[in-house]
Each structure stands twice: as structure tokens, then as C-alpha cells.
């Protein structure tokens, strides 16, 4: 096999590996062209920054879902945890409150983590399927939030707290850099490092790929699953704070569809439902895709009913493309490693002959 062929294969394999980026570019291209006919510049810096800003919120919930999907589970309680925790401590985060907003914020995250730990226990100790366990937790949390707040809405969040979470940092050539973008970037980086560089991360991947094998090789899989659900839920609590800061209010119905969005984001981002496969940066791509679709269709002034239709088609198409590409990448990687092996054998033979 000649070198040029190998090189193109290597490039192709890298491109296929970035499937969520490919999907992102395709979606961008579609909406840029469609909007061009309407005379709207979709790719203007201000619009791009809006998309990135909104996608940042999805990145946080996307990571929360992705780490659970990585363990072969699913977390349906994300949205309702966001609602319950912010509703519980929301009064302390208001302008009228005397308490330092960091205290209720910490309590929100701790409460969310506790709920996640309960989900983890339901799954590992009581052996309930993740889908059902988190569904039950979702119902319970949403119900409790309604019971707690009745029909009230918590409104008027502390401004300093809002600035901290959703404020604008600076502006470059019409492109606004905002706090959510920074937070999302930090979160992505942190989880990239955790998954890539720590034993915890490697154990997560291993547990997700094959729980039995992981258990037999001495990993406490139950503990890994507990940690994953706790972290996922704590992230949901944090996302709840961000949503609350953005909306300047919270209510028991907050984030009604967020668990779906989170699932969509992580699946488009290349995480496999079966567990053990996925790259955290894919979540960023997935979040941008989901929000680009929403924003693109809003700009085209399509009726909301039709948006759901196009959304459905695009989700199916995106996951299809994702799968096809990752399969091709696997084939190419096999070829490449075969070629590498052949090369090594060849050179060894040569060495042997020269001796």
C-alpha cells in the first residue's frame, strides 16, 4: 500500500471521527442557504453568538445526560431536578433576600446531588432499570415541586448572581462572549480531563462498555454508577441555576422537555445508548446542532407545529449520519492498523535479512 493512500485514509478517519462537527456544518449550511433566500444573514457574528450562547445551556444538561448514557443508563429526571431544586431554594436567590446567593446556590447543587445519589441507589441496590428509576424520580420531583410552590412563580433574581451566570464578558467584532460560553467551555474541559486522564474516567468507560467484565476486573461498578448519577444530577442542579438566572424566574414547570433535549444532544454528539462509547466534545457539537435547528427555523418564521416535524426528521437523519460515519471510521482504523502491522512486519523482515 502506498503512502499517499494511507494518508488520505488517515485524514478521512479523522474527519469521520468528528461526525458531530460534520453534522453541525451540514445543518449550518442548510440554514445559511435557506435564510439567504429570505435575505437574512444567518452566519452574522451576532446571530452566531446568540446560537453559541443558547447552546451553552444545552451543553451543561448534555454533559449531565452523556455521562449517564456512557454508563449504559439514562437520566430522565434532569428537567424535574432542575425545577425542584431551584424552586426549593429559589426564595433565597431573590433580590429581596438578605442571604449571600452563593449559599442557596450551593444548597441547590447539594440537593440535586442527593437526589442523584438516590437514583443511583435505586438502580444499584434495588436493581431497578435506569429508565424506570429515573422516570419515577422525575415524577416524584415534579410533583413535589408543584406541591411545594403551588401556583406561585419565583420572580426577580439577584442581579449580581445573574451576572455571574449569564452575564456578558466582552464583545469582539459583533460577537458577544458570554458567561454561559465560558462555563460550558470549562465544563467540557473538566469532563474531558476527567474522562481521559483520571482512573475514574477510564473506569466509567469500562463499566459502561461491559459491566460484568469491569466487575470481575475489580472495579466497584455499583459505586461508579452511583457517582455518575450523583454527578449528573448535580450538573442538572447547576443547569437549573443557569436557567433560573436566564429567565429571571423559576416555577415548578421549569425545563419540561430538557431531558429530551439532553438525550438528543448526547446522541447527536455520538454517544451510544448501549454505553461505553462517546467523546465529550461531541456534546458541544450536538448542542449547537439542536439550537441551530431551533434558531434557524425561528428565523424562517416557520409555524411551531411544523418545527417539531422538521426537528424529528433532522434528529433521525443526524443519528443516521453519525452512525454511518463512525462505522466507516472503524473500518478505516482497522485498515490503518492492518497497514501499520504489515509495515512493522516488513521492516522487521528487512532487519532480519540485513543481519
Amino acid at each position: 500500500m502506498d503512502k499517499k493512500n494511507l494518508l488520505t485514509k488517515r485524514v478521512k478517519s479523522t474527519v469521520y471521527g468528528l461526525s458531530s462537527v460534520v453534522i453541525m456544518l451540514i445543518v449550518f449550511a442548510i440554514f445559511a442557504v435557506l435564510n439567504m433566500f429570505q435575505g437574512i444573514s444567518f452566519l452574522s457574528p451576532s446571530n452566531l453568538s446568540t446560537i453559541l450562547n443558547q447552546a451553552s445551556f444545552l451543553v451543561i444538561v448534555g454533559i449531565a445526560q452523556a455521562i449517564v448514557i456512557l454508563m449504559g443508563g439514562i437520566n430522565l429526571s434532569i428537567g424535574s431536578v432542575m425545577a425542584l431544586t431551584t424552586v426549593m431554594w429559589g426564595d433565597m436567590l431573590l433580590k429581596t433576600s438578605e442571604v449571600n446567593p452563593l449559599i442557596p446556590a450551593a444548597m441547590v447543587i447539594l440537593t440535586a446531588a442527593a437526589i442523584g445519589y438516590i437514583s443511583g441507589l435505586l438502580i444499584t441496590k434495588l436493581r431497578i432499570t435506569p429508565y424506570i428509576a429515573t422516570f419515577a424520580v422525575m415524577y416524584a420531583c415534579r410533583g413535589l415541586a408543584w406541591v411545594y410552590l403551588r401556583n406561585r412563580v419565583i420572580y426577580g433574581v439577584n442581579q449580581a448572581f445573574r451576572d455571574l451566570l449569564v452575564g456578558r464578558l466582552f464583545r469582539v467584532a459583533g460577537f458577544n462572549v458570554t458567561m454561559p460560553m465560558l462555563i460550558a467551555l470549562i465544563a467540557l474541559l473538566a469532563f474531558f480531563l476527567i474522562l481521559r486522564g483520571t482512573t475514574l474516567g477510564r473506569k466509567w468507560y469500562f463499566t459502561g462498555a461491559n459491566p460484568t467484565a469491569a466487575r470481575f476486573s475489580g472495579i466497584n461498578t455499583d459505586r461508579m454508577i452511583n457517582i455518575a448519577y450523583t454527578v449528573s444530577s448535580a450538573l442538572a442542579g447547576f443547569a437549573g441555576l443557569m436557567y433560573m438566572a436566564r429567565l429571571n424566574s423559576t416555577e415548578p414547570g421549569l425545563a419540561g422537555d430538557t431531558h429530551f433535549e439532553a438525550i438528543t444532544v448526547s446522541l447527536i454528539g455520538g454517544f451510544a445508548m448501549a454505553g461505553g462509547y462517546g467523546n465529550i466534545w461531541g456534546v458541544a457539537g450536538g448542542a449547537i446542532v439542536v439550537y441551530t435547528i431551533q434558531s434557524g427555523m425561528n428565523m424562517l418564521r416557520l409555524p411551531g407545529e411544523l418545527q417539531a416535524l422538521i426537528n424529528g426528521v433532522l434528529i433521525i437523519f443526524a443519528v443516521y449520519l453519525n452512525q454511518t460515519l463512525s462505522k466507516k471510521k472503524m473500518e478505516l482504523d482497522n485498515d490503518l492498523s492492518d497497514a501499520r502491522m504489515a509495515q512493522r512486519q516488513h521492516s522487521m523482515l528487512k532487519e532480519g535479512a540485513s543481519r
Binding site: G143, G312, I316
Partner: protein
């Protein structure tokens, strides 16, 4: 010997039997108006749609798939039927069109899952969004109602009561079995016969347990999967019809979240999301459990948000009972195996 027999019977019943009995007895004792003929007939008629959907869902789950488009299909087929009726079409024609459209969506599900190899979770989820959005677009998100028929036709026939038995003079003491309930039971019976008396059942279990071995054993996964999704679409369309006739009008969001309740009912009934095990009767009992909880709580005037919490807790208790039953069944069979070994 007797204890052995009992243990066999214990593990033979669908898992949700126990939680259903517990919930039902508790509701009868605590809520005074619950165990009356009138309320039981209301409960059963309300549960019709969910029983049909959980039947469909449990077959999909056993096959190793999932059908999250069921709720969307219920809305879509309901809207199509209702709009045709409003336009003055013959009821039989409207119902036929609804059933066909449900099967078309099921077929598309099958194609996306088998040909495009998209995981069933996301394929049917997307398809459900598409179906729901078709329902919303056609009806412009408004309730569809139609002129009441002047003479007896298929609709009035289906909306009637098949049997009314008076136990007392008030409405609470009237047991009325609606035609819809009879129809639902008939359809479920047909599905059960097909499932347990033809190769459909064994092939479904085989596909769910291991698709590759099923394929090597000569079962065509693509054909069977597509067929099952078409069947699920058909059952969802029937559920849409039942809801439409029961409420005498159709609200386009009627199917929303129904697929989740169906999954919950099926899993409560011992179906695993990983496929290869479970039963249809279990799923139906699961559906009845959900409706018993809801009905009893609304009768006693409990706030709907508390109902949500209670349903969540019922689910967990139900799953724990499932686990305990399975554990004891396994222990018993282990003990028996030990005796045989000796």
C-alpha cells in the same frame, strides 16, 4: 410437594399481579367510592387506550426495540379520523383511513430501524415528534369535533354500552360494559392468541434475546421487526379511535406522554428494556395498576401534583416487589435443583 407447586405458580404469574392486587385492595379499603360497579366500569373504559398501547409497547420491548412514537400516532390517527368525520365522511371510511395512517407510521419506523440502522429509541422518538406535529398542523392545535349523527351508525354503535347491570338505583351502582371495552378485550385477545399460538411470540423473544443468533436460526430480523412496528402502529391507531369515540371529540395533544405511561406499564409488568423477556398480560396489569392509582386518588380529591409523587413511589414499590418475587422464585428453583442433584 405442595410448596413446590406453589412456587411454580408464584413465578408463573406476571410480575405486576402482586402490585396490582395490593394497589387495588388498598384503594378499595381506603377510598369508599372506589369499589363500586359504576367506578369500576369507568376505570376500565378509561384504561382501554393504555391497555392497547402497553400491549404494543411490550411486544416492541420483548423484541429488543422500543416504540416511542405510539403517543404521537394516537394523536395523529385521532386527528385524521376526527377531521374526516367532521368533513362528513362515512365513519367506517374515516376509521379505516386512521388505521392505515397508523400502520404507515409503523412501517416508516420499521424502515428507519432496520434499513437505516438508527437505534429504535431515537428513530421512534423522532417519528413520534413527526406524527404529533402532523396532528397539530392538521388541526391547527384546536379540538376537532363533529356533528352528532342523526341515525345509528358505526360511531354510535361503538360508543354505546354492550351490557348494563343495575345493582342499585344510583349511577354508582350501575355496571356498564362499554362496546369500546369489549372491542379492546377482543383485540388484545387476538394479539395474545397470535403471540402465544403462532411463531410470532417465539420469534419475538428470539430477536430480543440475541438478534444475530435469531438471524442465523433463519428468522429475518428486518421483516419481523418491520411487521411488529406496523402492528404497534395499528394498535396505537385503535387506541386513538377509542379515545376519540369515548370523548366524542378530539383534542390534538391527547396522545402526549402516553408512550411513557405505556413503557412504565410494560416495565411494571416485568418487561425488560433490554428485550428478550416479559409478557403482554403483565403489561396490561401494569396499565391497570397505573389507572387504579390515578382513579382512586382523584376520587378521594387528592391534588394532581401529589398524584404524580404517589405514582412515582408506586413505580418504585412495584419494581421492588418484582425483584423480591424474582429473587424468591430463583431461590426456590435453586433449592429444587439442589434436591435433584442429591
Amino acid at each position: 410437594m405442595t410448596s413446590q407447586k406453589r412456587s411454580v405458580r408464584l413465578s408463573g404469574l406476571p410480575n405486576s399481579t402482586y402490585i396490582f392486587i395490593i394497589v387495588f385492595v388498598a384503594a378499595s379499603i381506603i377510598v369508599p367510592l372506589f369499589f363500586t360497579p359504576g367506578n369500576i366500569s369507568t376505570l376500565l373504559t378509561q384504561a382501554c387506550a393504555l391497555m392497547l398501547l402497553s400491549t404494543a409497547m411490550s411486544v416492541c420491548l420483548m423484541m429488543g426495540g422500543i416504540d416511542l412514537s405510539l403517543g404521537g400516532v394516537v394523536s395523529m390517527t385521532g386527528v385524521i379520523m376526527a377531521m374526516l368525520l367532521r368533513g362528513g365522511a362515512a365513519p367506517s371510511l374515516a376509521i379505516l383511513a386512521g388505521l392505515l395512517s397508523g400502520m404507515v407510521v409503523g412501517f416508516l419506523n420499521g424502515v428507519v430501524v432496520t434499513r437505516m440502522k438508527v437505534p429504535s429509541f431515537i428513530a421512534t422518538f423522532g417519528m413520534g415528534g413527526i406524527a404529533q406535529s402532523i396532528a397539530n398542523t392538521l388541526s391547527e392545535k384546536r379540538t376537532v369535533s363533529w356533528a352528532a349523527p342523526t341515525e345509528t351508525n358505526l360511531l354510535t354503535l361503538l360508543g354505546d354500552n354492550a351490557l348494563t347491570v343495575q345493582f342499585g338505583d344510583s349511577a354508582a351502582y350501575t355496571l356498564s360494559i362499554s362496546v369500546l371495552l369489549v372491542l379492546t378485550i377482543f383485540i388484545i385477545a387476538v394479539v395474545l392468541l397470535l403471540f402465544y399460538r403462532t411463531t410470532l411470540g417465539s420469534n419475538t423473544y428470539a430477536l430480543g434475546a440475541n438478534e444475530e443468533t435469531a438471524r442465523l436460526a433463519g428468522i429475518s430480523p428486518n421483516r419481523w421487526k418491520t411487521g411488529i412496528y406496523v402492528g404497534a402502529g395499528f394498535l396505537a391507531a385503535i387506541a386513538g379511535m377509542v379515545l376519540m369515540i369515548r370523548t366524542n371529540s378530539l383534542q390534538p395533544m391527547i396522545g402526549e406522554n402516553l408512550e411513557f405511561q405505556a413503557v412504565v406499564a410494560a416495565v411494571l409488568g416485568g418487561n425488560s428494556l433490554k428485550g428478550g423477556k416479559g409478557s403482554i398480560p403483565g403489561a396490561i396489569l401494569g396499565a391497570l395498576t397505573l389507572f387504579t392509582v390515578r382513579n382512586a386518588m382523584s376520587l378521594s380529591g387528592v391534588n394532581t401534583s401529589v398524584v404524580m409523587v404517589v405514582i412515582g413511589c408506586t413505580l418504585i414499590v412495584g419494581m421492588v416487589i418484582n425483584e423480591v418475587v424474582q429473587y424468591y422464585a430463583a431461590e426456590k428453583s435453586k433449592a429444587r435443583a439442589g434436591i435433584h442433584a442429591l
